[in-house]
């Protein structure tokens, strides 16, 4: 049986293509402020939800913990964020924006929202909401692939689909 595969309707491809295009465009905008997309994601996440632990922030931003730790270090040195070793658990770190960090973030937010409305040109409110809710569903469907490896056997989907059977011997 011939292999069927059409990039034009392959969801991971469409996702990456759209995401890359926005990220690249907005990234150029961020260069003026000496920021990268990842730094912006951290600022936005902290603006949205202050006083997060490093682990929580890593989840929210889709960044690796180790990457994030150094990234936060950089933001801290620039006076945009602060780390506090507080709370009940002495291992945990609590991260928040400084006033300066908040100011910069709030200057960027309207720009980001403008990009978003460009992306959604021609969409009705209903369509936009539908698209977003579908993306949430997609994200949640993949939840089980989150950690590094989940049990030796399947780091992969159930693979019970009609597709193809054999692989991995």
């Amino acid at each position: 049986m011939a292999v069927m595969f059409d990039l034009a309707t392959f969801l991971p491809y469409l996702l990456n293509r759209a995401g890359t295009r926005v990220a690249r465009a907005f990234g150029r905008e961020l260069m003026v402020h000496d920021l990268t997309i990842q730094k912006w994601r951290v600022l936005a996440a902290l603006w949205h939800q202050p006083n997060q632990s490093l682990g929580a922030l890593a989840q929210m931003t889709s960044l690796e913990v180790s990457t994030l730790s150094r990234l936060i270090g950089g933001l801290e040195r620039r006076g945009l964020a602060r780390r506090r070793r507080s709370g009940g658990d002495g291992r945990t770190v609590t991260i928040a924006l400084s006033a300066k960090g908040r100011r910069i973030t709030e200057k960027l937010i309207p720009i980001a929202l403008d990009y978003e409305s460009t992306m959604l040109t021609g969409f009705t409110k209903k369509e936009s909401a539908l698209l977003k809710s579908m993306l949430v569903r997609v994200y949640e469907s993949m939840e089980r692939f989150d950690g590094a490896e989940e049990s030796p056997a399947p780091a992969a989907p159930t693979r019970r689909s009609a597709r193809t059977s054999a692989r991995r011997s």
Copy 2:
């Protein structure tokens, strides 16, 4: 006026989050074959559409031309792809998979499709098709931000939205 910004309904965020999660999961699968997500994207694009020029392939894969050139070099050295300096225009390079490259790609395609169906768990065919077509529309809406810089003035959206007015002085 207070700044309104909700990550949970911010399209670039949802896009990145979903895309990152699949890419990471599938990337772990690819490690076994000594491939990265980007290399997989190139293989898939060449499988989908053989004999592309470097520029066309860069567009299709959302990779930088310079990154791609080195990446193709690696695939060539491993005997997975071939470069031909052919055709009318002597500057152009034509890239295609080797038989071995095709074989590996065709082994990976069913796995990739399984990931896709996991992502679309619970979606009707109609919903899947709708999601995909919306992602195409989103991508196309951003077309004007593709090149590096488009005229000095706006490397940014029209910025005429009701959002916020002042910025950049």
